[in-house]
């Protein structure tokens, strides 16, 4: 739970709920998924499978361990608690949550059973040149996080609104674009999260400047973000993305944290997350209100951050 508290999108949804509960409905549903999806995965999956099999447990003991693991998970208590706390008419919510939990576990099991996972990723175009391969690798890593999928759900809903509404409010479209960017903001602070320390060693061995390694990360991030905001407000989305990355390089390099795949990213703690998100909103709104020329200072700030933290990254490689 403490890790989830670092997810900017979840924090934003809760703040919005505190101020305007009705307008936070859809976001809260997504936020609910943020909490519920990783939580509902099998709690015993963290134990080494071989160790669990080697322990001299009888079948009944194994069943008891599984039941206990299930009871120590907050998921069944949430499912049971909703109708008890909110009344029987919320029973439908419980059923939905149960469905999400089952779906999460089914997805996890199906994914893990497929040994040749690389086959499905071959659908992504192969990158060419020194940076291309790294960009494709980073894109794959991004698709192993839940944040882009939350962004996708939000972007799809916003696109439906924009297409079906006879006169879509441009300010609403801007707000939705920035919300989509917000779903990726924590990921911008954990650019190396899925590389593991072994992957970081490989970067250190590569004859490649730190800023280029960082650029490959950023390109993948911006590609995902632009794909999501393209039907909405791509200009504001791009400004937001550049600012998110400019502020995200610091925590990504100076405070790298491991990240579990198929979970939402836990961003950096403290003021850096707030500053990053506020700057992102400011840049997006300024681009919309004043002029797309605002993209130029955003790009300048981004490039400054890229080269500065690229040098810091090389410093870390040298031990």
């Amino acid at each position: 739970m403490s890790k989830l508290a670092g997810n900017h999108f979840l924090v934003f949804a809760l703040l919005l709920f505190a101020m305007a509960p009705r307008s936070a409905g859809f976001l809260l549903m997504l936020a609910g998924l943020v909490i519920f999806f990783p939580l509902s995965l099998d709690p015993l999956r963290r134990l080494p499978k071989e160790r669990l099999l080697l322990f001299p447990f009888t079948t009944s003991e194994r069943i008891r361990i599984r039941i206990l693991g299930f009871l120590f998970s907050p998921v069944p208590w949430v499912i049971l608690g909703v109708p008890i706390w909110a009344g029987r008419r919320y029973l439908r919510v419980s059923w939905m949550l149960l469905l999400v939990a089952v779906a999460a576990n089914a997805m996890s099991i199906l994914w893990l059973r497929d040994i040749d996972q690389a086959r499905r990723w071959r659908l992504l175009p192969t990158g060419s040149g020194p940076l291309g391969g790294l960009v494709v690798k980073n894109l794959r890593e991004m698709f192993h996080l839940l944040d882009p999928y939350a962004g996708l759900a939000l972007a799809l809903a916003a696109t439906v609104y924009r297409v079906t509404s006879p006169k879509p409010d441009p300010e609403a479209v801007l707000g939705l674009s920035l919300l989509v960017a917000l779903t990726l903001s924590s990921a911008a602070q954990r650019l190396f999260a899925l590389d593991s320390k072994h992957g970081l060693t490989r970067y250190a061995l590569m004859p490649m400047a730190g800023w280029r390694v960082l650029l490959a990360k950023d390109t993948a991030f911006l590609l995902v973000l632009l794909m999501l905001v393209l039907p909405l407000n791509p200009c504001a989305g791009l400004a937001a993305g550049l600012v998110l990355l400019a502020f995200g390089h610091g925590p990504s390099i100076l405070d790298p944290q491991p990240q579990t795949p198929w979970c939402f990213v836990s961003g950096a703690r403290g003021w850096s997350g707030w500053v990053q998100v506020l700057a992102m909103f400011a840049a997006g709104i300024a681009t919309f209100r004043w002029s797309p020329v605002i993209l130029i200072p955003c790009l300048a700030g981004y490039l400054g951050s890229l080269f500065y933290f690229g040098a810091r990254l090389e410093g870390r490689w040298r031990g």
Binding site: I115, D116, Q117, A118, R119, W121, T126, S128, G129, P130, G132, G133, L134, K137, R140, E141, H144, L194, D195, S196, K197, H198, G199, T201, R202, A204, L205, M206, P207, M208, A209, E314, W317, R318, G319
Partner: protein, 249 residues
């Protein structure tokens, strides 16, 4: 080709590697041997530029390791099999090599040709599409070794290249390293497999508690490498545990 002088790495007041010095000529194969925790991997990390020494100097292929301006040139000229193997979990065996080729300046065609050859020689053809996090330890090690060889380096730093690899491939790797050395490639490797080390190495360095206890050419060893190792490096008597192997109640 590889030289270090008074090389030290300390954590606080404890020196993990304590003022070691040696020189290895071009085309030599050096076995760097010692027990767990003796400082082998730390030394290898310092030699390959992954870890900054507390003091001392290192020269590899005529370049100062840890000198910022030589850094990129050095990385292009060395191949490293690091302790943790340095693989990306979400890439397949083949993709690791396809990723690295262009980074080391190889064309796509050249990268593919070399990849196919390396996968064939190292017995990785069948598992070429398997993602690294689904590979066995041996497959992962062979993938990392292939990455170290792909760009035809002048110097190879290999951390335990034979451990966890099946005997046939281990023998192939030994033969391959031997051939590379004949062509002028300098190989520096750590290992716990003394017989393999003895058959491959032209130089032997034994290390204990961060200090070099023996450094010579192989033919200058006064006895077999195993005898030297047990005499100089590890001599522990077995403490018998009475409960182990006794009838179970």
């Amino acid at each position: 080709m590889i030289g270090c002088s008074e090389l030290t790495r300390a954590y606080g007041s404890k020196a993990v590697v304590d003022a070691i010095s040696f020189d290895l000529p071009r085309g030599s194969v050096c076995a760097f041997l010692g027990p767990n925790g003796a400082g082998k991997s730390t030394t290898l990390k310092m030699l390959s530029g992954l870890l900054r020494p507390t003091s001392g100097t290192i020269t590899v292929a005529g370049l100062q390791v840890h000198d910022e301006k030589d850094s990129m040139d050095l990385k292009r000229r060395i191949g490293v099999l690091p302790e943790g193997l340095g693989l990306f979990d979400h890439l397949s065996v083949e993709e690791h090599l396809h990723l690295c080729g262009p980074i080391y300046g190889l064309s796509q065609v050249e990268t593919r040709v070399r990849t196919d050859q390396l996968l064939r020689v190292l017995g990785l053809e069948e598992g070429r599409f398997t993602q690294a996090d689904h590979c066995s330890h041996g497959m992962r090690k062979k993938t990392a070794l292939a990455m170290a060889l792909l760009h035809n380096p002048e110097v190879l730093f290999l951390d335990e290249p034979f451990e966890g690899v099946e005997p046939v491939t281990a023998e192939l790797i030994r033969e391959l390293l031997n051939r590379l050395a004949e062509r002028g490639v300098t190989v520096f490797f750590t290992s716990h497999m003394l017989d393999m080390a003895e058959r491959l190495a032209t130089h032997c360095i034994l290390i204990r508690s961060g200090k070099i206890v023996w450094n010579s050419r192989r033919e200058e060893l006064p006895s077999t490498l195993s005898e030297m190792y047990f005499g100089l490096v590890e001599s522990r008597s077995l403490e018998l545990m009475p409960w182990l192997g006794s009838p179970r109640s």
